[in-house]
């Protein structure tokens, strides 16, 4: 499979509402992220065992996700429970969708293929979501541009910014009194999602604070897209 070891963020928690699903990629592989009716998040291979259609095109009912094409239904463990064309059939338990370990931390949904992943992403306390930013660049390039072009703090004067990894795909960006957490999702070698939350209370950041950092994400994206030679320049600088 294309998912490497360790934890990978796949969405902001708030982007996947109960009883909804979305498709995503890790390392070029296709995954479905869905939340059942009770609120538990799941990350599976995005492929229906029947004819290989994308499960992310389907829909969630209660604790089942149903494939759009012929309505096969899968329970939260990934096992097929119902085949509409054969309503009386006891579905063989071999019909399953590969499911990944899924946790929620730092306002993001994380997946891992490891049966016992080393450490779950640390819980930073209260966070306020900003957005998931989708960028046509490698994860390394994205990090370099973030480091070279940090946001201004929301509350105070511009101070030195610091970017440091706090997990395999989780980075902490300190800017003055503010802290952003950046989840890095390697969609493919040249496409990256940056899941961004503010570490801090909603009381402080809700509304204006979110908009402040949202404006930075647009400028960051613009910077990446308007400098086609960014990769080359940055790697020269890095040398």
């Amino acid at each position: 499979m294309t998912m490497t070891g360790g934890w990978h963020p796949v969405a902001l928690s708030t982007s996947i509402e109960p009883a909804s699903s979305a498709g995503t990629h890790i390392g070029g592989g296709e995954f479905v992220v869905w939340r059942d009716g009770s609120g538990a998040a799941h990350v599976w291979e995005d492929r229906c065992p029947h004819r290989g259609m994308k499960l992310s095109f389907g829909f969630v009912r209660g604790d089942h996700i149903a494939c759009l094409y012929h309505g096969w239904q899968y329970d939260a463990a990934g096992r097929c429970r119902y085949i509409p064309a054969h309503p009386d059939l006891e579905v063989p338990k071999t019909i399953t969708v590969p499911a990944y370990r899924t946790v929620e931390a730092a306002g993001m949904i994380w997946a891992s293929r490891d049966p016992e992943p080393a450490t779950a992403p640390a819980d930073p306390g209260e966070v306020v979501p900003v957005r998931s930013l989708y960028l046509a660049a490698s994860a390394e390039t994205v990090l370099q541009v973030v480091e070279g072009f940090p946001p201004r703090p929301f509350g105070g004067d511009a101070g030195p910014a610091g970017l440091e990894p706090v997990g395999a795909n989780l980075h902490r960006l300190d800017i003055g009194p503010d802290t952003l957490l950046l989840g890095l999702q390697r969609l493919s070698d040249e496409r990256t999602a940056l899941h961004i939350v503010i570490a801090g209370p909603a009381e402080t950041y809700s509304g204006e604070g979110q908009k402040h950092f949202l404006a930075w994400t647009a400028a960051l994206r613009h910077r990446l897209e308007s400098a086609p030679a960014a990769d080359a320049v940055l790697s020269t600088e890095a040398v």
Binding site: A22, R131, L214
Partner: protein, 210 residues
């Protein structure tokens, strides 16, 4: 007779905008089916007399013959919705609706080209319209992300307006032209809300989750 007569082609997303509006406003209307594909009936002399642009939808209302989905939406809202919710008269909300209607008719029309070249094999490059379409959807997703921080669920007002109706088909049908919903989380949430508006209906290419 002051009834509404709607010249419709089922697979046309601009006709779908009008069907949505008629249904969500709770109106009664009469449909005339147009053989747009493969018949190209909309460019026959009979239809060119109603709309010299040779496009659908066309709506007749009493003595009016209107073409262009956004115009028709505005007419229906203004003439048939006494509450004024679908086309608010107030400054900011009215301006917001107009801005997104124009966006829908202009910038977002690239999605119509992308879809028709993908579905009906109309000649032309497929990749360029797809990339422009993805960029237009991104503008919408950026807007709805920011709206969310103001606690607003809809494009131009605190409730659904004809702007939401005009914008929905391009997003809901994007898989027809090869753009997935993966990278538009704010639009996914908005589309779920839109589906719950009374009078919502689907069209071919937009699944009905029953």
């Amino acid at each position: 007779m002051a009834g509404i007569v709607f010249h419709n082609y089922e697979l046309d997303e601009c006709c779908y905008k009008v069907r949505l509006a008629l249904s969500m406003l709770g109106l009664e209307w009469q449909t005339v089916a147009v053989d747009a594909f493969p018949g190209s009936e909309q460019v026959s002399p009979l239809y060119l007399a109603m709309n010299p642009l040779g496009s659908l939808p066309i709506l007749k209302d009493g003595g009016l013959v209107l073409h262009g989905a956004e115009t028709i939406l505005a007419h229906l809202a203004r003439s048939r919705d006494p509450s004024g919710r679908w086309l608010p008269a107030g400054g900011g909300e009215f301006a917001g609706v107009m801005q997104w209607l124009v966006f829908s008719a202009a910038s977002l029309s690239v999605t119509v080209r992308a879809r028709s070249s993908a579905l009906f094999d109309t000649p032309g490059d497929e990749e360029a319209p797809r990339a422009s379409a993805a960029k237009a959807l991104r503008i919408m997703d950026d807007h709805m992300t920011a709206r969310g921080f103001d606690g607003a669920d809809w494009f131009a007002a605190g409730h659904a307006t004809i702007a939401d109706i005009a914008l929905f088909p391009a997003f809901a049908l994007s898989r027809d032209y090869g753009v997935d919903h993966d990278e538009y989380p704010a639009l996914r949430r908005w589309a779920r809300r839109f589906r719950a508006v009374p009078g919502f209906m689907t069209m071919p290419g937009i699944p009905d989750y029953h």
